[in-house]
C-alpha cells in the first residue's frame, strides 16, 4: 500500500467528516487517532457491532512501527538532564496496543485482543490470527493494519465474522490522504 505524507489537519478533518463526537480523541497520539478513524470508517453504515456481542468481538491489529512515533516524543523529553520532563499523558501511548484499548473503550468491546508487529502488510496473517481467536466465545474480529511513522499514516480495517458457520470477511478501503480526499467528493 502506498504510504502518503499526511497533512497536519488530516486528523481534525477526518474527525469532523466521520462526525465522531468524542472529546477524548484530541488527547490521543497519532496512532490511536488513526486507528479510531479507520475503525469508524469501517463500521459506519453497517451493523457489524450490533450483530456481534461485545465480549465476542476480538480486536487484532498489526503494524510495522509499533509505537515508535510516540516513543520518539517520550525519548525527546528525557534526553536533556536539565530539561527532563517525562509526561504520563505521552508515556501511556508508548505501547502499540493502546490503539486497541481506545477502540475497545469507544465501542465497548470486551473481547480478545492481540497486537502484532510485522515489516509489511500481510492480509493473510491478520485473518489467520483473527481466526485462531475464534472459539467458544469469539465470533467476530475487527482486524487492522494501523501504522503511523515519520508523518506517514497507513491504515486498513477488515471485519471478520462467523456467519452461518462460515468465515465471512469484509474489507474496507485503505485509509490514507488520497482515499480520504476521495470521500470528501
Amino acid at each position: 500500500m502506498p504510504k502518503q505524507d499526511i497533512p497536519s489537519y488530516f486528523f481534525a478533518d477526518a474527525y469532523k467528516h466521520f462526525e465522531m463526537n468524542y472529546p477524548k480523541f484530541h488527547k490521543m497520539d497519532n496512532l490511536s487517532k488513526l486507528g479510531l478513524i479507520a475503525t469508524d470508517a469501517a463500521i459506519k453504515g453497517n451493523d457489524f457491532l450490533q450483530r456481534n456481542k461485545p465480549e465476542a468481538t476480538a480486536v487484532v491489529m498489526v503494524n510495522k512501527a509499533s509505537s515508535l512515533d510516540t516513543d520518539r516524543i517520550h525519548q525527546q523529553s528525557i534526553n536533556d538532564k536539565n530539561n527532563y520532563l517525562p509526561s504520563p499523558a505521552t508515556f501511556v501511548y508508548t505501547l502499540p496496543n493502546i490503539v486497541i484499548g481506545e477502540i475497545a473503550i469507544k465501542h465497548k468491546l470486551t473481547g480478545e485482543n492481540l497486537f502484532l508487529v510485522c515489516n509489511e502488510f500481510d492480509a493473510q496473517l491478520l485473518i489467520d490470527q483473527a481466526q485462531i481467536t475464534f472459539s467458544q466465545e469469539t465470533r467476530a474480529a475487527i482486524c487492522g493494519w494501523v501504522d503511523y511513522d515519520n508523518g506517514n499514516a497507513d491504515a486498513l480495517i477488515y471485519l471478520v465474522e462467523i456467519a452461518d458457520d462460515s468465515i465471512k470477511n469484509t474489507n474496507f478501503i485503505p485509509l490514507n490522504a488520497t482515499t480520504l480526499n476521495q470521500l470528501y467528493k
Binding site: 534526553n79 505501547l95 496496543n97 493502546i98 470486551t110 473481547g111 492481540l114 502484532l116 467458544q136 466465545e137
Partner: protein
C-alpha cells in the same frame, strides 16, 4: 489435540538457566536491588543483568559484537532451549514467537554509544535479527501487547499448533530496564523505591526488571521435558474502561478467567498472579479472583523476586511456576506480609510442598488488556 509446555530457559540477575533461577528463588534471593540510575542519578529499586555476566556468556555467541544487549540475551535463552530440545528453526514446522513491549528502545537514546543500526529499534527488525542468527525458515511472529504479551504469546502458540500450522513453537519474551521505561513509570508515580510488596497493605508501586525467558510449546509427546504440562486453554479480554488503570470490578480479568475455565470444571491448585504491587492492580486482581470463585487457592506473585519484566513477565513467571510444579513446590510470594486487598485470596507465605496438578496464570496490562491460561499435568 493436546498441546504441551516443554523445555525452557530463564535469564535474569539470578542466573542464565531455569535451574539457577529456581534454586535462587527457593533460597529467597531477590533480583531487585536499590540503586542509582539514569541521567538524574535518582534512587530506584531495579533488577538489572550485570554486563560482566552477559559478556562472559556471550562468548558462546558467534559474532557477539553484532548484537544488542536484548538480542544477545534472547539468543542465549533460545539457544539453551534449542540445544536441549534438539529442535531447529530450519524446520518449517518450528516457529519463533517473540514477546516484547519495547525491544531495543535503548537505541533511541543517542547518548549511549552502540554499534547497532538504529533500524533495529523496529521490533520486527530485532526479531528477524534473532531469527536469522538461527537461520530460521519462518519469519518470527512478534507480539507487543503491553504486559500481557508473554502469556498471550503462549496462548497464541497453543492455538496455532491446534490449528495445524506448526508442531513446535518457541515463545521468547524479553525486555530491558531502560531510562525510557524508568522515567515513564516514574511519571506515573508507579515505582517503589524498595523491593515491591505484591498484595501487601503497604505496597507502594512496582520495581522494573529485565529478563528474557523462553518456553517451548509442542504437540510432540516425544519432545516433552520433566516439567511438561498441557496447555488446556487461555483467553484474553479488554476492560473497555480506561487505558492506564484497571476496571475496579476486574471485568476483563474476570472474563479471561471464566473463558479459560469454561468447560474445564477442574480444581485449581495454585494461581500465579500478575501482582505488580501497584495499589490498583493487586486490588483488581483479588476482586476478579473472588468473583470467579477462586477463594482458598494458594496465590503468589513472582514480582517480589524479579520485579516487573514487562514483555518477559508472562513467559518467565509461567516457566518458574511450571518448574516448581514439577517438584510439587509452592513458591512464597516475596514481599508479602499483611493482606492489603479486599478480595478473599490465600497468599503463599512460605515455600512449601503441595500437590500441584493444575496452574492458573493471570496477567493484566496498560490498554485495559487481561489474559489467563490454564495448565494441567
Amino acid at each position: 489435540m493436546e498441546v504441551f509446555t516443554s523445555y525452557h530457559n530463564i535469564i535474569s540477575p539470578l542466573g542464565f538457566t531455569t535451574k539457577e533461577n529456581y534454586s535462587s528463588v527457593l533460597a529467597d534471593k531477590l533480583c531487585v536491588k536499590t540503586c542509582r540510575y539514569g541521567k538524574l542519578n535518582e534512587q530506584f529499586c531495579l533488577s538489572i543483568i550485570p554486563d560482566e555476566q552477559l559478556n562472559v556468556a556471550s562468548r558462546q555467541i558467534k559474532d557477539a559484537l553484532l548484537y544488542s544487549k536484548l538480542e544477545k540475551l534472547s539468543i542465549l535463552s533460545i539457544q539453551d532451549v534449542l540445544d536441549r530440545s534438539r529442535l531447529s528453526f530450519s524446520d518449517p514446522k518450528t516457529l519463533l514467537i517473540y514477546s516484547t513491549t519495547k525491544g531495543n528502545i535503548d537505541l533511541l537514546d543517542n547518548s549511549i554509544k552502540q554499534n547497532i543500526p538504529k533500524e533495529r529499534a523496529y521490533l520486527f527488525s530485532m526479531a528477524n535479527t534473532i531469527a536469522n542468527y538461527f537461520k530460521a525458515v519462518n519469519r518470527p511472529l512478534v507480539i507487543s501487547n503491553a504486559c500481557i504479551s508473554g502469556l498471550i504469546a503462549i496462548v497464541t502458540a497453543q492455538r496455532l499448533i491446534k490449528a495445524g500450522q506448526y508442531e513446535n513453537i518457541l515463545v521468547c519474551g524479553g525486555d530491558l530496564v531502560t531510562e525510557f521505561t524508568v522515567s515513564g513509570f516514574k511519571s506515573f508515580n508507579a515505582l517503589s523505591q524498595n523491593p515491591c510488596k505484591p498484595f501487601d497493605s503497604r505496597r507502594d508501586g512496582i520495581n522494573l526488571g529485565e529478563a528474557v525467558a523462553t518456553l517451548l510449546i509442542t504437540k510432540n509427546k516425544n519432545k516433552l521435558e520433566r516439567s511438561a504440562m498441557q496447555i488446556v486453554n487461555g483467553a484474553s479480554a479488554n476492560d473497555a474502561n480506561h487505558i492506564s488503570g484497571p476496571s475496579r470490578t476486574g471485568d476483563g480479568l474476570f472474563q479471561s478467567i471464566t473463558q479459560t475455565l469454561k468447560n474445564n470444571k477442574i480444581k485449581i491448585d495454585t494461581i500465579s498472579a500478575h501482582g505488580t504491587a501497584t495499589p490498583y492492580n493487586d486490588e483488581m486482581e483479588s476482586v476478579a479472583f473472588e468473583r470467579a470463585g477462586l477463594i482458598n487457592i494458594p496465590v503468589n506473585s513472582l514480582k517480589g523476586y524479579y520485579g516487573h519484566t514487562l514483555g518477559a513477565a508472562g513467559v518467565l513467571e509461567t516457566v518458574l511456576t511450571l518448574e516448581a510444579a514439577s517438584e510439587n513446590q509452592l513458591i512464597k510470594s516475596a514481599g508479602f506480609s499483611e493482606m492489603g486487598v479486599s478480595g478473599k485470596i490465600e497468599m503463599i507465605t512460605e515455600h512449601k510442598k503441595a500437590n500441584i496438578n493444575t496452574i492458573l496464570k493471570t496477567v493484566s496490562g496498560f490498554g485495559g488488556c487481561n489474559a489467563a491460561a490454564l495448565f494441567v499435568k
